[in-house]
């Protein structure tokens, strides 16, 4: 039985760690660039999260398949080519089947190539592990990344536009009583401040992550 206790423990670790304890954004500080600019609305954030998850998972898988044959000197370039290929495929599919979203994400889809989480997982995990496990690791990290994106986007869209997925959820009566959308939430800097607060909350719960 190869699927012994240690193995399933390992699998569980690969799947669950990136979501909270080793979250790529809030703990490892990877891939913040593209994440924040697309969080004004939930729809864009969701598509972005999905794209990053797919790219991270598939690139980890492919690189892991090739890991024994890659010449060491051109390792980084080979990895970049694989990642760039995945991103172009995602971009082309979005342009064909989700045109309006792809238009609103503009250059940020392309920037997934330089998203550190993709390269980070390839270097740290896929180069030393079997393809199947690497795929799961990539997907789980993408998911952990997407989770933060979605949380930030939900807060920004509710407070900034009073809606979710573009549907009004704050009733008109509240506006009539004098409530106003918080215009600050829509501005780019507020994504950073919200992220700071998320990290604050997480580190208050998990004291071992606090910095000296």
């Amino acid at each position: 039985m190869w699927r012994n206790q240690a193995m399933s423990e390992n699998l569980k670790n690969v799947l669950l760690k990136p979501i909270f304890k080793g979250n790529p954004i809030s703990v490892l500080v990877l891939g913040i660039c593209s994440s924040l600019a697309v969080t004004v609305q939930l729809k864009g954030a969701l598509v972005m999260a999905l794209s990053v998850t797919i790219v991270t998972g598939l690139s980890s898988f492919v690189v892991s398949l090739m890991r024994k044959s890659i010449p060491n000197r051109v390792r980084i370039i080979v990895q970049l080519v694989v990642v760039a290929m995945m991103v172009i495929l995602v971009d082309q599919v979005l342009k064909a089947y989700a045109y309006s979203v792809s238009k609103s994400l503009s250059v940020y889809i392309g920037l997934i190539i330089t998203n550190c989480i993709v390269m980070g997982r390839i270097e740290a995990f896929a180069l030393g592990n079997k393809p199947g496990l690497s795929l799961l690791d990539g997907l789980a990290n993408g998911f952990g990344y997407g989770l933060i994106l979605v949380v930030v986007a939900i807060v920004r869209e509710i407070l900034g536009s009073g809606s979710i997925f573009g549907f009004q959820i704050i009733p008109q009566a509240v506006y009539n009583a004098g409530y106003m959308n918080n215009g600050l939430m829509i501005l780019p800097p507020f994504a950073l401040i919200l992220l700071g607060c998320i990290i604050w909350i997480q580190r208050s719960i998990q004291k071992d992550l606090q910095e000296e």
Partner: protein
Amino acid sequence: MEYISLFVKSIFVDNMIFAYFLGMCSYLAVSKNVKTATGLGVAVIFVLLVTLPINYLLNKYLLQPGALAWINESYADVDLSFLSYIVFIAVIAAIVQIVEMVVEKFSPALYSSLGIFLPLIAVNCAILGGSLFMQEKEFINVGESAVYALGSGLGWFLAIVALAAIREKMAYSHVPKALKGLGISFITVGLMGIAFMTFMGITL
């Protein structure tokens, strides 16, 4: 489009960090003190300034729809734009590698201060972002793309040096334990971003 207006806009209004969050990973990781921040900032300006005009020419004469018409009219409807990401990133990675080798060979002093940042830069979003924005903004000539590269590089430089200076001072202040380090850095960058937004009102 006037060069000066383009230059000022790309430094302040369309700042790579505060308006587009590009290159945040290394921005937060290397902003603990002013000296290293300056080194990385200079390296970013330099690499942007080299790669952007090259990618501009590649885009104009190879990638954009109809770009191949200069070879032969019959190639006019060839559209290679789907290859742009891969070409841009390959150019950036190659240039960074070449620059690193040249600097190491001819100026060991510069290499010891700048060289360690060069590998970091190949995967810095600000560099690829510069090329992608260049493609989207459809500049008219190489000069404009170079001015844009210089402006956005300077903007990035300013942002990282300013944050490093603030973080040096912040080491002495009483920040709640859970907010220390990363958390407070994010909030600081957010506040700096709000300050930078006042530049949006300027008329150019």
